[in-house]
Amino acid sequence: MHSTTVLLIEVGAVLFALGMLGRIGRRFGLSPIPLYLLAGLAFGHGGLNPLLASKEFIEVGAEIGVILLLVMLGLEYSANELVGNLRSAAPAGLIDALFNALPGAGFALLLGWGWEAALVLAGITWVSSSGVIAKVLGDLGRLGNRETPVILSILVIEDLAMAFYLPVVTAVLAGVGLLGGVKALSVAVLTVIAVLVVAIRYGHAISSFISVKDPEALLLSVLGLTLFVAGVAAQLQVSAAVGAFLVGIALSGPVAHNATQILTPLRDLFAAVFFLFFGLSTDPAAIPPVILPALGLAVISMLTKVLTGVFAARRGGIALPGQIRAGLALMPRGEFSIVIAGLAVASGVEPGLAPLATAYVLITVVTGPMLARLSDYAWFKAIVRKRMAVRRPVGPVPAAD
């Protein structure tokens, strides 16, 4: 009984503190993710005030947090959007993967880490944070901009790629070697294609099976289905997160719309617990030695993201200012990088990975949204205009053809 009381006090105090932090962050236009991570560092072992009684609770909560993050991501996109987008944006997605995963992998090898760690770090530097970027685009009033569909389609491809990447990483980290990774990949590919086909053909039938009218029943059935499928996926070594993502894709129409609204508060709660947990499991003393490498990696991989955005926007017929806006907007890494790093931490592949990932995400997620505003300043526009005047002969592609 006593331990339950302490648990309530600890969890209550931590959640309240996170709420206050989030509020302060919003005032400065800061995503709450870095604040939750910092709070986790402060409360973790070796931190200011270690949490003891609630550790187990937070661990389970973090697991649910990852699952909810992914099911919401799946709910955001319809299967048709994913497939339709894949056709037109595949080259940009490929460039994105090459430009941003390779620096991470190379960096890990440079540090003398094994190829498993290189695979993990490649994922961490590859994936931009769709949550943070969508928020930044909305805040800056850029949803109507012509480069925004380019940015969004890159994010969609990255998220879809996670459905293949996460199972491979899960398998490799489980110690099955390269062959096991290939097997996991083929299972993932077959599953994802099957789910996409079923969702496009029969998505209506699946969704009509779940009633929208009763919000309570909807919440329980969607949450239950998601956790169940995620659990089964984890049992089959395909990664719980991917199972949840696929459930989100399979649901469509009014069910998806209502489930998004109902699950959002739950996602916010458990995602906060997840970021906190990741911070908790990182020793703050391990951060200072990796700050410099993390900074170097952040600078390199933020530049490669800018190049990706410029390349993709140019292919979309966007003029130079829009190309730069697309590049700068893509920089922040966030929830996915932490999810990937979380997998590595759980398997204990490389002790230096978690602090490096924490520092890396902290740097990119804080500076990324700030740098995204760069293109709105008058002096920045003036520089761009001067450059455009130099290359006027090439000129922007006319909008109408």
């Binding site: 850029r142 012509r146 719309h257 003029a319 053809d401």
Partner: protein, 181 residues
Amino acid sequence: MSVRRDMHDTSATVGRVRVRVEQTPLPGIGVRHDLITSSGRTVGVVSHRNGRRDLVLYDVEDPDACLASIPLTDDEAEALADVLGASLMLGQLSGLREQAAGLLTEQVALPAGSPFVGRRLGDTRARTRTSASIVAVLRDREVIASPGPAFQFEANDVVVAVGTRDGLDGVTAILAGDTGD
């Protein structure tokens, strides 16, 4: 990636001018429609999946960037659409007047004491008696185009009629109840 390729062009023929409305999907957010006006400006509407709508205006110097993004509630969007629709409708009607010599278009407000408030359009027998046609009724900022004989008048309706001078005067008189029946 080529955004342009996955745009679905919907061409609307309004009047005699072809207007091209481009539709661009915004994965995870909704869809954007935009059109380039003959004055060279681009206006668009971002329709969010959760029902929110933003009216966006594009920069002249940087046509990829939106200068302003104005969120509209359902009521505001409807009001704006009505205002545009009503002015368009009336504009087309006045165009009609120029086309056919001798034919006039007129708006006739239903007088407060009209015997036809609450009665059907067919009861006026306006076309038979004056050979002028009632082509639309304006009610609460809404345009009811080509109302049928079963259409029921309400107080404050404004009737749009097309006909000769005599015919339109006849319609005005009938609606005012000045014809003795």
